[in-house]
Amino acid sequence: MWLISKIKQVLMVLKPGIVTLKYPFEPHPVPSDFRGQPEWDHHKCIGCGGCAAHCPARTIMIRDVCQELRIMLYDSSRCTYCGRCSDVCPESAISMSEKFENATEDKNDNTVSLELFMLTCHRCGRCYNHEKTNIIDKMEIRGYRYDSLEYRAVIPMVSEQLNETYLKRTENYQRPKK
């Protein structure tokens, strides 16, 4: 009788086959909505520091070496992979990657440092990003010049389509008074 039950058991086990993952020898894909280690796109980042302000574990630190250089440090050791940094990023420069194999002997292996080159605004003196993805720079390409109200009125126009009559009409534009 015990033999029959054992044979039954073997047959029951044979039906599903081997279910064990061969994980470390074969890759196992992550689900589509998995949040792994956040990745910075350094071409898109404008250095606003929203991610550093929103991080619950404060893993992102901002260090201003000088007026022109801003260093952002990401320390993955205490990151909870909540994805708030990628939610809050205005330029969507941070994306949650599928990287989860972060086991190390040294905590510093999971750090990311990003050096941003910042320019100062002629008017307010604050830093802004140097790259051509920036809005002010885009406007400069279109013919925007600082402190010229006449041209300021025609910012949306490309310089080839510059309308003389429109320029004359906006000649008496005044700076808004307080």
Partner: protein, 176 residues
Amino acid sequence: MLSGLSKKIFPKSLWIYHCNSGACNGCDIEILNVLTPYYDVERFGMKLVASPRHADVMLISGAVTRPTLPLVKKAYDAIPAPKLVFAIGSCAVGGGCWFDTYNVSGGADKAVPVNYFIPGCPPRPEAIIYGVALALGLVDKKASPVELKQVEFPIDMYERNRAWEDRNAIYKLLDN
């Protein structure tokens, strides 16, 4: 180097003692998940034991809180001499969200020397298996520090700072 060394020290099965030092049970569930037939870490010869005196490896999950700190140290001392310590989860690796709160010592490495760090909140069972396999020398390490630079800095600020320090050194010498 460490994995090669551990191959020599631990040629046979590793026995694991699981130490919860104030975790939220997320990591503990994942550790138990690793022992299920689906992930099956026992094919590497790992086994969960109840007493630290039988264990080779200590898994610490959770930021080491102040009440558990002496207990974690006691459990670590109870493990016989060639021993490995794994910090599992963000809390154990760096303190998690509570890294600077008053009641938390801020990570397992503040309490006991830690050999391997497995970050994640909680880490996937695959991530834990990967860490174990890394310790056994079955897989290569994939994590490495990343440095991103947006533009090469036009004015060599580093050189400028160094020059300033050099010039400043003269004044320091003058002061002396």
